[in-house]
């Protein structure tokens, strides 16, 4: 069995996708990364893949076109629970809108909220317990 954790990045901003994947590469989790530019594509991936290919963590942006982070979550919560319970959703945004923050914090699917820019320290301190099995 592959014990490399899989991390899914969802962000409309390609530069932020790049930054996040670079940041995560620097962490000791030895994670594999899949990036999605559109939330809809990320959802399709989740719908069409079974447990072995599901990510352990989803880093989800809030402000995205067509389907924003909250729209994504509305659809996400309809996916099978047995898959969702092994997956952590972390919202990542540069938003200073307190309504966004409130909405993220009260959503039962959201494990945490991280402010952009993402850095390795933030990522490690949040996920070390969750991903510790895969620490090498």
């Amino acid at each position: 069995m592959n014990n490399k954790p899989l991390i899914m990045l969802v962000d409309d901003n390609k530069i932020d996708l790049f930054i996040h994947s670079e940041v995560i590469k620097k962490t000791p989790f030895n994670a594999a990364i899949i990036s999605f530019n559109f939330a809809g594509d990320a959802l399709t991936y989740l719908e069409n893949n079974e447990e072995t290919k599901w990510p352990q963590v989803i880093m989800l942006d809030i402000h995205m076109p067509i389907m924003n982070g909250f729209d994504f979550l509305d659809k996400y919560e309809k996916l099978p629970e047995r898959l969702r319970k092994k997956c952590l959703v972390v919202m990542v945004s540069s938003s200073l809108n307190t309504d966004d923050l409130k909405k993220a914090k009260t959503n039962s699917e959201v494990a945490a909220f991280l402010e952009k820019p993402l850095n390795s320290e933030k990522f490690v301190s949040l996920l070390s317990s969750f991903l510790s099995d895969s620490l090498t």
């Binding site: 620097k26 402000h63 995205m64 076109p65 067509i66 540069s94 200073l96 809108n97 820019p117 993402l118």
Partner: protein, 364 residues
């Protein structure tokens, strides 16, 4: 003309009612009621601006009645007429009945008229205040939305830059460094174009209208030259006909054309053959007709009425980095110079923005 003030007068003495109504019917919209139930019925059916009541009535006192009307018509101004000169009644009237004026019976017309005029004035200024408050509330809501959208759009490229800087600090690889600079550069241009948009909007909303002679060939070609290199594969057609002098606001026209043409480029249909944007300008003695058309992705019927709203973005426009400001600026600029705009569009066929702008030649 302002609407007549609506007065309801309640009194169990019919003679008072009749003489009151005939005296004031020209100046005010007067309704009368001979009993409290009758008066309440009137109030339930219609908005009344001033409610006048006699104090001594068989059912309940005037003060009690006026107190009841507060819940029903909170915005009305209340007035009590009484034969008693009991101070207790006056105090009760002011405290319980929110009564503004107090007139003694039998009344002198002059005093009564003055009291009613005061009430009318009070009603009108309160109404104005309520209206102003409503407008302020709306402006405030819009400002809130504006500030949040603005702060997000300004902050997100900055946070990207900060993220790249953090990466660069820990990564000394020369090849990566070049990549970081490119990324920072693209964030900076994005931020800059957003700020330019905002400034354009601000200038437009503040600036006075300017009147100068305009050469549309120069103006139209100038706009195209500025935007042409955004897409080398797109054809730019102009059809400009000017045989008569035109006076108008060059800056605003430039802003309008810039926005329309850059939208045509932004919302092009990548799969269409012969992608084009066409600017057709016909200058007439009294006005200029400008049409900017394209064979782009078009606009869905349901969105057309909303596209000029601030921060409105369709699914497509978000995808294409639209800021939701461009067409709002176009609309605001057009309003300043007295122009009109009409949009015709069909999805995946194209859009056409047709403008008519008055020639200010006579006034200059």
């Amino acid at each position: 003309m302002t609407e007549k003030i609506k007065i309801l007068y309640v009194d169990d003495e019919k003679n008072n009612l009749v003489s009151f109504q005939s005296y004031y019917r020209k100046e005010y919209d007067v309704r009368i009621a001979a009993s409290v139930p009758e008066a309440l019925k009137v109030l339930e059916e219609a908005e009344m601006n001033i409610i006048i009541s006699d104090q001594n009535m068989p059912e309940i006192t005037g003060v009690e009645f006026l107190e009841q009307t507060i819940r029903l018509r909170p915005n009305a101004v209340r007035m009590l007429i009484t034969g008693q000169s009991d101070l207790g009644v006056v105090i009760e009237a002011i405290n319980r009945g929110q009564i503004t004026k107090f007139v003694q019976k039998p009344w002198e017309w002059e005093k009564l008229s003055l009291a009613i005029e005061n009430c009318a004035l009070l009603y009108r200024s309160r109404a104005e205040l309520r209206q102003k408050n409503k407008e302020l509330q709306k402006a405030n809501d819009e400002l809130n939305k504006f500030v949040y959208s603005l702060s997000h759009d300004l902050r997100s490229p900055l946070m990207s830059i900060l993220g790249i800087v953090h990466l660069a600090k820990t990564n000394k690889d020369a090849f990566a460094e070049k990549n970081y600079f490119d990324l920072i550069e693209s964030c900076v241009s994005k931020l800059d174009s957003f700020i330019r948009n905002i400034i354009e909007y601000y200038k437009n909303s503040r600036g006075e209208e300017i009147n100068e002679s305009i050469d549309f060939k120069l103006l139209g070609e100038g706009v195209f030259d500025l935007l042409r290199n955004q897409d080398q594969g797109m054809a730019f057609y102009t059809e400009i006909e000017q045989n008569t002098p035109f006076f108008g606001d060059t800056l605003r026209l430039k802003v309008i054309l810039n926005n329309l043409v850059s939208n045509a480029i932004k919302y092009q249909n990548a799969s269409a053959e012969n992608r084009f944007v066409k600017m057709k300008i016909t200058v007439l003695k009294n006005e200029v007709h400008i049409s900017v058309s394209d064979n782009g992705i078009g606009i869905l019927e349901k969105h057309i009425e909303n596209i000029f709203k601030l921060f409105f973005r369709t699914e497509n426009s978000q995808d294409k980095d639209g800021t939701g400001i461009g067409l709002y600026i176009v609309k605001e600029a057009l309003e300043k110079i007295g122009g009109t705009i009409k949009v015709t569009s069909a999805p995946m066929v194209g859009s056409s923005f047709d403008l008519v702008i008055p020639n200010k030649i006579q006034t200059s």
